[in-house]
Subunit: 209 residues, 2 copies
Amino acid sequence: MTIKPRGRPKADPTRDLRQELLLTSRELLAEGGPGALSMREVARRAGCTHQAPYHYFKDREVILAALVVEGFTDLAERLQVANRLAGTQGIKATLVASAHAYVDFAISQPGVFQIMFRPDMCDATRFPDVQQAGASAHAELEKLTQIVYGERASPTLASILWAQVHGLGCLMIDGSMAAQFPTEQLRTRHLQEVVEQFASMLVFMTPAK
Amino acid sequence: MTIKPRGRPKADPTRDLRQELLLTSRELLAEGGPGALSMREVARRAGCTHQAPYHYFKDREVILAALVVEGFTDLAERLQVANRLAGTQGIKATLVASAHAYVDFAISQPGVFQIMFRPDMCDATRFPDVQQAGASAHAELEKLTQIVYGERASPTLASILWAQVHGLGCLMIDGSMAAQFPTEQLRTRHLQEVVEQFASMLVFMTPAK
DNA sequence: TGTACATCAGTGAACGCGCGTTCACTGATGTAC
DNA sequence: TGTACATCAGTGAACGCGCGTTCACTGATGTAC
């Protein structure tokens, strides 16, 4: 039996302000990096007192941790969906899909992507679920390595895959590609060619199923 | 003919304090990212008044720009040295050397490496030499692509190379590798295997000279 | 050789601002009896 | 049906701090004449 608390129960977890705060936090991170994410600016944009965020998040680091957990979970899901193609689509198509899943995630949430891989941003001992979410995303990369290389899979090959998609994600969102490819359309096209070519190279070296 | 200024001439450009300030700035960047680099903290560590840095750098952004220019110049030099091996050492050895040059630079100056690829950190119109230094580093990467692929070189293949070494650099310095490879020795060994394997893959697909 | 003076390489005090966080409070809402 | 009360979802004022930057100053050093 569960004992009901006496007072008012917690509101619907699809709470407005909490979600709004996380949303504006993502925006701030994307616009100016971790330094631009302050409790007061988040509150300002969300249209509430600078005290209100403390109702949902004990302190600034909790917001960052929440975003990172959401980020890794989102990334892991995207990779999982892509990896599932292996059942029907063949190795190369799966690899292409997974690579795009990784890079598209980076592009869709550039600010969060950048802090996800900076462990100094949120204390690992304080937020165990951050590490857990990170591990589940990493597991999908290892699954992809298995798909591509089968029993020849190794940590070395996994790192090659990871470095490639991670590097692409970084270069796409940090503006490094903007010099060569000024418009978003050109960048997207270039990205597709790079992913396609990379996948071809790997599959070329892998014995057919 | 040059007109000598009347007063005291500028001191030896191998000035102590200026170099000291840049050095501690690199440390601060490495320790806590761009947010940790403040004029006052730099001064504090360098053992001078918080006003002294203004004597050498007009404002905070000038320090960042100076570090980025130095960084790109250093990176370009390392890549150039590696690329020169092409004359005597063969394609694969050159590729391995260049990849290590890139990643080693990231490891040696992690803080600077991170801001080099964040153009929002220093205004491009204000610091033209930042773009120029960046371009010279990028040119070495294109030279490497030429070395590896010859006339089959393309922007797509250049981006594959770049993304790989950039991704490796990021993952090595942001702590992502620390989970799988807890000690620096293990990480270095892993890095060597990854670079070696990646170079083998690329050269395998390239006709011998 | 002397001296006026321009410049160098800083020092030291002070400004206004945005920040994270603490504290005390408040009206609304729901539950227990 | 009434009412006491616990909790929710905030508000509003205030704190102390570190920051970037401006301003006014200072002793040392070198050059011009």
